[in-house]
Structure formats: structure tokens, C-alpha cells
Symmetry: C2
Subunit: 239 residues, 2 copies
């Protein structure tokens, strides 16, 4: 089966968590909105609005898997985790992996709010002052709180470089992506935190060097970070 | 088995989505932090920090179910949905219900951000101006966008009063809670929207009149909405 991923073609965004899972799984998929010279986004929007779709999505990403159309990033990963052994097969492990994913999703939402505290419908340029305010709290308080939590999970799990059990899970891939995103957006702040959360940064490095992930990251399937996505680098927010 | 729910004792918050599912299921549970005259929150924090817990939570709520300790609201509901027939048993239905729940969770997070656009670590009183800005967008753009989506889901499903299939799911209970919260926080805005999303409001009424939910809502287990929770009524934001 060839999966169809529907997501914005010019950003990593939330779709990137799915792309990484598909890459690690070695799955056959087409990134629909990127695969067509034009019309890809139109096709995506059509599928979002179509009454023929019984399980419409509020927003991208969504994944077509045979007859299923699955929306919400964490939900797509829950599904892929089961299909491609990117999560334990037993219920306890499956729930724990999903819990970690949802916690990462909370951090991702906060990372987005940093540059859009007044709402996603307004330009960053019109909320720079408020963004600075929020960024200060995010860097001083929120990033450390989240990374401390994941550092503890890694410490408890004993297995280096894995959040869950002894093999790679989609939560590991997502943790990699979050650290990569934070490194991009807040390089100075993250440099200061590196020594405090060594396991988190080691996991990031370990995932990056997995053969399929490394190949993916080196390919043009990996869209560079940019200031349209979730993790944005604005020099003035990284203080 | 008696469940143990761990959540803040004085607010509905995210714990309320779990409380409603437990009420509808007729499950035996203790609301730990509320059940003790004092020490309940201490017990909750201890379980969050304990190294003996292999699946620690970043934040409440979390649910103890036998040997499992499950965190993240949507994840708890995924589990309870399977145990208490509050979601379809087949994979497609289970994923769809979860997708809807995660979409509701996004709306809940935005409802919280309305009164804390600069960050949860600062007092509302110190971000009133920014809150007004964000509230305007939330009322004008975001609430309608979300309610329009759920209205469409209800319309497509044919079965009145259910988001998924022909029986109640945890997504229905959560939709009820979101509408109840928005009604509390933004009564004037919601009054204006009532005619535009009749199915959403009908679902809210239908859930409220389910025998177990009605009994729960009338009991002192239902904590009144207040200005410490997620849905807060500040007159100045409801314009």
C-alpha cells in the first residue's frame, strides 16, 4: 500500500513528525502537495472540504492509508506506530508512547505560540513586543520544564537513546524533531541548556544518525526550517 | 477495579473530560485530590515526581487503572473509550473518535491562551490588553471555525446528537464540555452563534440530559466553573 500524506508543501510544520515516521518505517508514500508542480494544495483542500470524506480533518496533516483517512498528527502516529513497529505492541507501551507524543505536541503548540501570542491570524510583525515577552518565559521556564521531564524519562528507561523500551519509537523521532526545531529557533538558549539535559541531546544525535533518518535529512524530501513553519528563528526572540 | 483520578481539586480543567467519561461509564473511581481533606494534592505531586512510577506525567490529569498510570487527557480517554464502550471497537472508528478528541483539545488549548496569551506563568491582570486582542480573534474567527467543523461532522453522521456512529462516545462528552465552557466564558458571543450551529448546541443539550451525566452535573462532584480553570468568564473579553 502506498500512503498519501497531505500537508503544506513548503514547511516542516506538524507534517514533519509524520514524514519522519514514514522515513524510519521505509514506507512507500507520496507527499501529495509536494509531488505536483501545482494543484497539490488544491487537491489537499478538496479532500478536506469534500462531503465524500467521512472523516474530514480540521487541518492538515492527514494521511490516506487505503480506505482510512486519518487526521491529527499524534493520531496518525498512533496508527503508524502499530503498523510499522514504531511503538510497543502491548497496551501499556502503546499508551505510554502516545502519552509522550501528546506531551511533545503540547511543547510544539507552545513553540508556535511564542511567535503568535495574539493569534495565528495576525502577522508576527504586528506582535513582536508580545512575542518577546512570551519568548522570555518560554526559554526561561517552559523549555527547561519540558526537557527536564524528558531527561528524566530517558534516565528512568535505562536504555540510552530511547524514550520507550529498547527500540526506536515514533516518540523518539518526534523528540528528535522538537530538539532540532528548538535548536533552529533558539540556538543561543539551547546551547546554554545542552549540558543540563545530556540524554535529550544524545537522543537527538542518535536519531539523526539512524540510516534511514540520515538519508531522509540529507535528501530534498527534508524541507529546510524557515520562518513560515512552527519553529522560527527570530534573532530578537533568542535572548 | 476502582480507578484513581489525579487532578487539581478546585477546577474542572482538563480533568473534567475524564470525570465526564467516568460518570457516563458508571465507573467506580476516586477523585484523589478531592477525596482528602488535605494532602490530596501532595499525594498527586508525589506520584508525579516518584521514581517508582515508570510512566510519569508532565502534568495532571492522570489516571491509575490497576497497574497502569496513564497521562494526557486524550490518551486517558482513548483508554477509557476501549474499556467502557465510549468509542467504536473497530480501528477506523477508534481513530476517528480520537481525531475528534484531539481537535477538541486544540480548541481547549486556544480557549486557555485567550486569557494567557503571554504565558501561563503571568497573571491575567498583567496581560489584559493582550487578552482582549486575542479574545477578539478567538470569538470572531476561531470559535466559528471549530464549531463549523463539528457542525459538519454532525451533519454528515446523520445520527443526531452523536459525532461518531449511533451511540455516545467520549468525543460527544467532550464536545458537551467544550460548549458548556464556551457558554460560561463567552455567553454573549455564544448566544450570537447558537443559530448558526444548531447541531452542536443540540448535542450539548442531549449530553446534558443523559441520566448519568445529568446526575453528575447536579451533584457536588461537578465543580462550578471559575476563574482558575481553563474556561474563564471575564466580562471584558466577551465582546
Amino acid at each position: 500500500m502506498r500512503y498519501e500524506l497531505y500537508y503544506w508543501p513548503t514547511i516542516q510544520g506538524r507534517g514533519e513528525f509524520v514524514r519522519l515516521a514514514l522515513a524510519e518505517a521505509g514506507a512507500d508514500y507520496v507527499d501529495v502537495a509536494r509531488s505536483r508542480k501545482d494543484g497539490g494544495v488544491t487537491a489537499m483542500m478538496r479532500l478536506m472540504e469534500s462531503d465524500a470524506v467521512k472523516t474530514p480533518s480540521f487541518a492538515p496533516p492527514f494521511l490516506k492509508a487505503g480506505k482510512l483517512i486519518i487526521g491529527q498528527t499524534a493520531n496518525i502516529l498512533l496508527y503508524l506506530g502499530g503498523c510499522h513497529k514504531l511503538a510497543p505492541a502491548n497496551e501499556a507501551g502503546r499508551l505510554w508512547t502516545h502519552q509522550l507524543q501528546l506531551t511533545l505536541a503540547d511543547l510544539v503548540a507552545e513553540a508556535h505560540d511564542v511567535h503568535h501570542p495574539l493569534g495565528a491570524n495576525f502577522y508576527y510583525e504586528d506582535q513582536k513586543k508580545e512575542s518577546r515577552h512570551r519568548a522570555g518565559d518560554f526559554i526561561e521556564s517552559r523549555i527547561p520544564k519540558f526537557l527536564r521531564f524528558f531527561e528524566r524519562v530517558l534516565e528512568q528507561n535505562k536504555s540510552k537513546e530511547h524514550l520507550v523500551g529498547r527500540s526506536v519509537s515514533y516518540a523518539d523521532l518526534s523528540m528528535f524533531q522538537v530538539v532540532a526545531g528548538l535548536n533552529y529557533a533558539f540556538p543561543r538558549a539551547m546551547l546554554r541548556l545542552k549540558d543540563r539535559y545530556p540524554r535529550v541531546f544524545a537522543l537527538h544525535a542518535a536519531v539523526a544518525s539512524r540510516p534511514r533518518i540520515a538519508a531522509y535529512l540529507a535528501s530534498d524530501r527534508r524541507i529546510p526550517f524557515n520562518e513560515e513553519g512552527i519553529f522560527r528563528h527570530y534573532r530578537e526572540l533568542d535572548d
